[in-house]
Every structure is written in structure tokens, then in C-alpha cells.
């Protein structure tokens, strides 16, 4: 299988019966193609991209969502970026293909933040494409392909599975993202923030959304220690693994009587539990999820790029907001407020975390009117490095 040239293969119609013909469970290696890796990228490049690979000279964001690239060869390419729910159906992908075929010579791309990008090479097509995109709406009225996500604005929220697919979430992902993006929609299609603002969501502490370095992070958290299913645990996991799973050593082996029978199980020292969920990952008989206990923590001020300041972690500023499906109004409100306060107060080019550091976190909490709680004080391994070991601080509502 030559993955550098699969055009021919793709040109063939899908053969629904082929797999069953080739695959014989009794001889699983027969006809098996493995380790071919992903298709080679180059064959999917639109012509202008292929021809100008490595030759691009500069770019200009001609309007939010539309970036014009100019090559040393003089070639021009417009990239049009559209928001996406990421959780999308084959129908929607087909619609994307239809658009790509119509305007983009049959090519399309996704960004690292799950936006869709269409490429055209002349302004006329650009205009037609934009009109087309803006016109496509869902039955409920939402845009199918909102254009934006560039420059000093907000782009798509990187997020994870939530209740749509994962087994460990403390919150939903897609629903929260939709609720936040609806409210902050104006920032997606405009360049009026001081710098780019990256919002991310992860539905549990595993942080598949890598929210640990985002300007604003929405994090699903549990707040109740794991249940222990004494009658099931030995059947579904090994006690030593469950015990070893806990970074704080809060899990100890135990023996209990279940229906008159002695059973090996574990006990959790609940006061030492920090709800990380690693025990559940290792052992299905230790679920943490709880409708009342679970909810959202907000972290802010992280970043990835090495621009001006070094990459940094997001900081926990709101330890808990209850789950409020379907629209999570409290979460939406605090995020909007932070974004607006940032927008009003930060300097041009200044990322949210750099702003907070410049004015001081005491001032950040004051300006954003967020109560400071002990939960924001670190007490994990490297906690000491976050203590304030100087008399340099500002007076604020907290000291008034």
C-alpha cells in the first residue's frame, strides 16, 4: 500500500462487501494490511499550497476569519476559517465537501483547534464562498459555518468528550462549549480583544483538552471521593493496582463482609482524597461521578506561545460552579465577565495571564469581582513556589 498516492483508491466506489470478503476471523492475518500509517499529506494540498510550499512570504488578515497569504512566486491564497462544533456528523462533512468542491478545487483543511479552513485563490471566489458560508444555517438558526477565529479575538474552544462519549467526565463538553460560544459569539468574528484569547475545556482532570495552558480554562471536577463496590471490585480490577493508583496513598487494602462472606476490597481515606479520578481510571468499581458533587472549575492566564512571555500554566481562580445543564448560565456569566474585564483593561498584545501578572493577582480578583478562596492557594507538590515571599503587593478590597 503506497500511502503517498491514494487517489486511484479513492476514486473507486466504496465496496461495502469487501471487508467481509477479505476478513476471516479464523485467519485474522490473511489479507490484513497493517502499519501503513496515515495518507501522505501532500496529495491533499490544494494546488496553490503545493506549488508554494515553503515559499510563503507574508500574510494579512483581510477581515476576521480571512487570511491572505502571498508567496514569493507572487501567488496568493486566501484561507477562510469557519467555526465548528467539532462533534460533527457525516452529513455535515458531506456539506463541507460540497462547498470545497464548489469553491476550493476539492480540498479543505482543519486547524489545530478544530476550525475548518477553505482555500481560494481569487477575490471573486472568496466573496462567493463567504456569502455561501454565511447563508448556511441549522434548523434552530445557528450558523453552520461562522467565519472568524483569527487575530485578536476568540477562536474555537478546544474541548473533549464530556457526557457524549467518555466514562470519567464531571461535566459535559459540547453543551458547555455551545453555551459559552453562543454568548461570546461576537468575539469569534471580530478583532477587538487586546490579544488572542484561547479558551479550552476538559471534562475531567485528565485534561484531554490540555486546558492547563489556556487563557481561560473550563475544567470538570469531581468533589466526592470514589464509591467502592465491595461486591464487584475483585472481579473487575486488581486490588494492588487500585491501591497504587492513588498519588496520595489514600487507598488501602481492606477486607469486609458482604452477605456474610469475607471479601477483599479497598477503603479510601476520604480526607486525603483530592478527587483526581485516577483510581476510577484504574478500577471500574470506584466511580466518582455524582450529580451534586461534580461541576466546573475555572482557570485563567495560561498560554502556549513563546511570544513576549514564556508559556505558562492556567491558574485556578474559581474552584467550583455547579453543573447547570443545558446552558450552564453561571459558567457562561463568569467567563464573559472575565473576558470583558480583560478586554477593558489589558494592553495591546497583552495576553490574559500577562495582564493579571502585570496588575497583580490581587487586583485581578478585585477587578473581576471574583471572591478569593483558600482553594486558590496551592497545596500540592510545588506549592511553596507560589507563596508570596516579598512585601511587594497591592492594597485591594482584600486588605481594605
Amino acid at each position: 500500500m503506497d500511502n503517498t498516492n491514494i487517489a486511484e483508491l479513492l476514486a473507486k466506489p466504496y465496496d461495502k462487501e469487501l471487508a467481509e470478503k477479505l476478513y476471516d476471523p479464523k485467519k485474522p492475518m490473511e489479507n490484513r494490511i497493517t502499519d501503513i500509517g496515515p495518507p501522505h499529506y501532500e496529495q491533499f494540498f490544494p494546488p496553490v499550497i503545493k506549488e508554494n510550499y515553503g515559499k510563503w512570504k507574508s500574510h494579512e488578515i483581510v477581515q476576521p476569519g480571512v487570511i491572505k497569504y502571498v508567496s514569493e512566486t507572487g501567488a496568493v491564497c486566501f484561507a477562510v476559517r469557519c467555526g465548528s462544533a467539532r462533534l460533527i456528523t457525516t452529513d455535515l462533512i458531506r456539506e463541507i465537501c460540497e462547498i470545497a468542491d464548489k469553491y476550493c478545487e476539492g480540498y479543505v483543511r482543519w486547524t489545530t483547534r478544530n476550525n475548518i479552513e477553505f482555500h481560494v485563490t481569487d477575490e471573486e471566489k472568496l466573496k462567493a464562498l463567504l456569502d455561501d458560508l454565511n447563508g448556511r444555517k441549522n434548523p434552530g438558526g445557528s450558523y453552520k459555518f461562522p467565519v472568524g477565529g483569527t487575530g485578536a479575538g476568540m477562536t474555537n474552544i478546544v474541548h473533549t468528550q464530556g457526557w457524549v462519549h467518555c466514562h470519567t467526565p464531571a461535566i459535559d463538553a459540547s453543551g458547555v462549549v455551545k453555551s459559552v460560544m453562543d454568548e461570546l459569539f461576537e468575539y469569534f468574528g471580530s478583532h477587538k480583544l487586546p490579544a488572542q484569547v484561547r479558551v479550552a475545556l476538559a471534562c475531567c482532570l485528565n485534561m484531554c483538552g490540555a486546558v492547563h495552558c489556556s487563557d481561560i480554562a473550563i475544567l470538570g471536577i469531581h468533589r466526592k471521593p470514589p464509591l467502592v463496590e465491595d461486591d464487584r471490585i475483585t472481579g473487575v480490577c486488581e486490588i494492588p493496582l487500585a491501591v497504587a493508583a492513588c498519588p496520595l496513598g489514600a487507598i488501602k487494602p481492606a477486607t469486609v463482609e458482604v452477605d456474610g462472606e469475607k471479601k477483599k476490597t479497598v477503603r479510601v481515606n476520604e480526607n486525603r482524597c483530592m478527587f483526581c479520578g485516577n483510581c476510577y481510571t484504574m478500577c471500574p468499581a470506584m466511580p466518582l461521578a455524582d450529580g451534586e458533587g461534580d461541576g466546573i472549575a475555572i482557570l485563567v492566564g495560561g498560554k502556549i506561545s513563546n511570544r513576549i512571555s514564556a508559556p505558562k500554566f492556567s491558574k485556578l481562580i474559581i474552584p467550583y460552579i455547579p453543573n447547570e445543564p443545558p446552558r450552564w448560565p453561571s459558567t457562561v456569566k463568569v467567563i464573559k465577565n472575565i473576558l470583558e474585564k480583560y478586554s477593558e483593561n489589558a494592553n495591546k498584545y497583552e495576553r490574559l495571564g500577562d495582564w493579571a501578572e502585570r496588575i497583580g493577582w490581587e487586583r485581578f480578583f478585585e477587578i473581576c469581582d471574583i471572591p478569593f478562596t483558600e482553594k486558590s492557594i496551592d497545596d500540592y507538590r510545588l506549592a511553596y513556589d507560589t507563596y508570596r515571599t516579598t512585601t511587594q503587593f497591592k492594597w485591594s478590597v482584600h486588605t481594605d
Binding site: 491514494i6 476514486a11 466504496y14 477479505l22 476478513y23 492475518m29 489479507n31 497493517t34 501503513i36 496515515p38 495518507p39 501522505h40 499529506y41 515553503g54 510563503w56 507574508s58 491564497c77 465548528s84 462544533a85 462533534l87 460533527i88 456528523t89 457525516t90 452529513d91 455535515l92 462533512i93 465537501c97 468542491d101 483543511r109 482543519w110 486547524t111 489545530t112 478544530n114 434552530g140 438558526g141 445557528s142 450558523y143 461562522p146 478546544v158 457526557w163 462519549h165 459535559d172 453543551g175 455551545k178 478583532h191 492547563h212 495552558c213 483526581c276 476510577y280 461521578a289 502556549i304 506561545s305 513563546n306 511570544r307 513576549i308 453543573n323 445543564p325 495591546k348 498584545y349 510545588l382
Partner: protein
């Protein structure tokens, strides 16, 4: 079209309104369009909205023959109510580097997935895969055969193996890319197919490749081995373009701040004063950069893309050990190799040699579920340097240690460690 059953989903339906693309509308439409799984998924989601708890069971090990990764098992914990999603495994399909597609490819994928799965996807997963969301165990092998035989596609990673590498758009469209991000990503993926498909590591291992320090694929935060483009020579300056920015003819930051009046562009305030290494100055009308002091943060280049460009002696900085919080806390990646040439001609030998040493050490010493970055923390950066045969340089640390608790080995110390109590006491009465 088959008959489909719509559940009552009042809460979930609230997510149809508002301007942002509604996943609910999309999924519901797909459901009405024949996919019961879609409607069952919305039904179960409604139940989750009611209970505020997930309704997926814990894990479930499923997969395709000969691979230890690429499929995540998933079962509903209310299968009677939602039988179409009783099994709802995901298949991670390795995306083409930087995620360009032909519609032919996507259409074929849709056909397969409509036929063999739920019709639902993530484009893309957080690691970068095309995620095919929801199918039953009996469809796994057929999907795999369809992907390999009819599309030339393969699975991505999951489990304790190499995860699907990914990269930024790089030279394909970006003028700043110092390295061939796609080629590196593809090359590593192909070289390490075995590591990707057959879990043999203590835990997951990720590569990401960004063309420059803007790091558009978030490598520095999200992977065990980050490859980030950089340059060793001088930032290229077009003094005429600098003047054009100063004169207001060119828009700062390529127009990224267009919707707000930030006043006239002020090169001193907006560029020179913000340079983290304070290595720029105006010399009359000329912009001067002391490149030896530049830390290649990209800011000046970002602000004046027509005037400034990365240098020509390009390569990559390799950083290791980034990860999410589980277990010991999150880590950002640490500088390991400040600069290596990324040489296509020698098949990226240098980085692969390095990675081999990394894996040797980690596979020998890493504990179960210990990420590579945690191993470094546990056994020390010194041990990391010894095992990878790197020499210690100040670029690896923000600052030298402040505690005095230095380890020495007997060989380093004059006279070694063998000492005799008696001789000591001959000099010093107790």
C-alpha cells in the same frame, strides 16, 4: 431511510438556538436522516443532563487484531433505553499531517462510517486523529479493512504507546515555518509505526511539531517530545517595510487588531519596548536587532510580518516531558536540545537517535503510568542527560539551582569515599 425514534430531549434541545453551530441540530438531522444511533445519543445525553452524570460504562478493551491501540471501547450503562448506542466504540484514524483533505477522501470516510458506524465523528480529536465516534465490536475489523484497503488509511494511537503525532500547518501555508513540519510528522509516524500500534511503553508518548515558537500545535504543553522550529542566524529585516509600518501604510500584526482603535502604530511602544530581551533599537530610521541577545520569541515578527522574517539557518529546538496533570501534576516541556538541524536528507537521524535513547531509558526505568516528564523529575535531569548523552548547558534551566544539595560521586572527589575511621580519629580525638 430506516425508521428512526426520536426521544424526548427538552434540555438538549435548548442547545439548538444561538449563533454557534449547534451539534444538537446536526446530530438530530443526521438522526432523522436515518441514524438511530444519533437520536439515541441525544436521548442518553438528555438523561445525563438530568442526572448530571455520564451514562457510559467504564472502558472496555476492544481492538483490531495485531494492534494494541486505536480503538476506545465504550458501552452505554442504559442500553435498554438506547439500544443503538449500547456499543459505542471510537476508532482513531491517523490524520494526514496538518489535516488537509481531498473531498474524495472525506466522502469515502463518510460512506464507511455511515455504513459501519454511527455517522458521528470528531474532527478532530485533541491529539489530532480523525475520531470515528460510535460503533459496535463486530464492526471494528471491517472498518479497519475498509480503511486500509479502500482508503489507504490506518489507525492512530491509544493506550501505552506512541500516540498519533501532529503538526502545525507549517511551510504549507505559513511564512514563518523554520522546519518541514509535515514531513517530520509524517516521517516520525511512519518510522515508528510499530511503537504506535503496539503498546510497549510505560504510558503514552506524544510528538508534536510546530514550525516556529508561536507553537500553533501547542507542542510545548501537550507532548512528551516537542519539535519546535527556530533559527540560529539573524532575523531578516526589510527596512523599507519597517518604515511602511511606522508610516501606517502596513497594518501592524497583519490586521489582527483591526476592530478596535488602538491609536497609531508606535514601533517603540509596540515592538521595541515589548521585546523580552530588549535587544532592538531604532538607529535613526533603521531598526537594529542584536541577534545574539534575541530569544526568538516571534513578537517583532508577528507584529511586522512584511518587514521581519526568521533567519535562514533554521532547525529545531527539542523539548521534552510536557503532560497533563495525571498523576504528579502538569508539566510544560523542558529544553533538551537547543538546536538541531532537521535534515530530511539524513532522515532526521539526529532526533531519532535522541528518541531511541529516551525510550531506552524510559522503558527500562519508567514505572507503570509514569510519563516521560515524570521520570525526569523522579530520577533527575542529570540522569536524563547521562542517558541521552547530552551535555548540561544553561539553556536547559531557567536558573541554576538555589539549594546546595548537590550529589557527588566517589570518582569526582579527591581520594574517593573510602575513608578510615581510625585515621580520622588519629587526627581528631572523639
Amino acid at each position: 431511510m430506516a425508521d428512526v425514534k426520536k426521544h424526548d430531549t427538552p434540555m438538549v434541545d435548548e442547545l439548538k438556538s444561538g449563533p454557534w453551530p449547534s451539534f444538537v441540530d446536526d446530530i438530530e438531522q443526521r438522526g432523522f436522516n436515518g441514524k438511530q444511533a444519533c437520536l439515541d445519543l441525544l436521548g442518553q445525553l438528555e438523561l445525563s443532563y438530568k442526572h448530571k452524570e455520564t451514562h457510559w460504562k467504564h472502558g472496555g478493551i476492544v481492538g483490531v487484531f495485531g494492534y494494541g491501540g486505536g480503538v476506545i471501547g465504550r458501552y452505554s450503562d442504559v442500553p435498554e433505553e438506547f439500544p443503538a448506542i449500547a456499543h459505542f466504540h471510537t476508532i482513531r484514524v491517523n490524520q494526514p499531517a496538518s489535516k488537509f483533505y481531498s473531498t474524495a477522501f472525506l466522502r469515502k470516510l463518510c460512506e464507511i462510517w455511515d455504513y459501519r458506524g454511527s455517522g458521528m465523528t470528531n474532527f478532530h480529536g485533541s491529539t489530532g486523529d480523525m475520531v470515528l465516534l460510535g460503533t459496535s465490536t463486530d464492526q471494528l475489523e471491517p472498518v479497519f479493512f475498509d480503511l486500509t484497503h479502500q482508503m489507504g488509511a490506518d489507525l492512530g494511537g491509544s493506550g501505552s504507546n506512541l500516540r498519533t503525532p501532529s503538526c502545525c500547518v507549517g511551510k504549507a501555508r505559513c511564512e514563518w515555518s523554520c522546519i518541514d513540519t509535515q514531513d517530520i510528522c509524517y516521517n516520525l509516524t511512519m518510522t515508528f509505526q510499530d511503537e504506535l500500534h503496539r503498546p510497549a511503553f510505560p504510558y503514552k508518548f506524544k510528538f508534536k511539531v510546530s514550525g516556529c515558537p508561536n507553537d500553533c500545535v501547542a507542542a510545548i504543553a501537550r507532548c512528551d517530545c516537542a519539535i519546535i522550529g527556530t533559527w540560529r542566524d539573524e532575523i531578516r529585516i526589510d527596512q523599507e517595510a519597517v518604515k511602511a509600518y511606522m508610516g501606517g501604510e502596513l497594518k501592524p500584526n497583519a490586521g489582527a487588531h483591526s476592530d478596535r482603535d488602538w491609536g497609531a502604530f508606535d514601533i517603540q511602544k509596540e515592538v521595541i519596548d515589548l521585546c523580552p530581551s530588549q535587544c532592538m533599537m531604532m538607529d535613526g530610521n533603521e531598526l537594529k536587532i542584536n541577534n545574539r541577545e534575541c530569544v526568538r520569541c516571534m513578537h517583532c515578527i508577528n507584529v511586522m510580518p512584511e518587514a521581519l522574517r526568521p533567519g535562514l539557518d533554521t532547525g529545531a529546538t527539542i523539548l521534552v516531558g510536557a503532560k497533563a496533570p495525571i498523576l504528579e501534576g502538569a508539566q510544560l516541556a523542558t529544553v533538551a536540545l537547543p538546536f538541531i538541524k532537521m535534515d530530511k536528507d539524513n532522515d532526521y537521524e539526529e532526533i531519532k537517535d535522541f528518541v531511541d535513547k529516551v525510550w531506552d531509558w524510559w522503558m527500562e526505568e519508567g514505572k507503570n503510568r509514569e510519563r516521560f516528564g515524570e521520570l525526569i523529575q523522579r530520577q533527575s535531569m542529570q540522569e536524563f542527560l547521562r542517558r541521552t548523552e547530552l551535555k548540561p548547558i544553561p539553556q536547559m534551566v531557567k536558573e541554576p539551582r538555589s539549594n546546595p544539595y548537590v550529589f557527588w560521586s566517589a570518582e569526582e572527589v579527591e581520594g574517593g569515599w573510602k575513608r578510615d575511621v581510625k585515621t580520622f580519629r588519629a587526627r581528631h580525638a572523639a
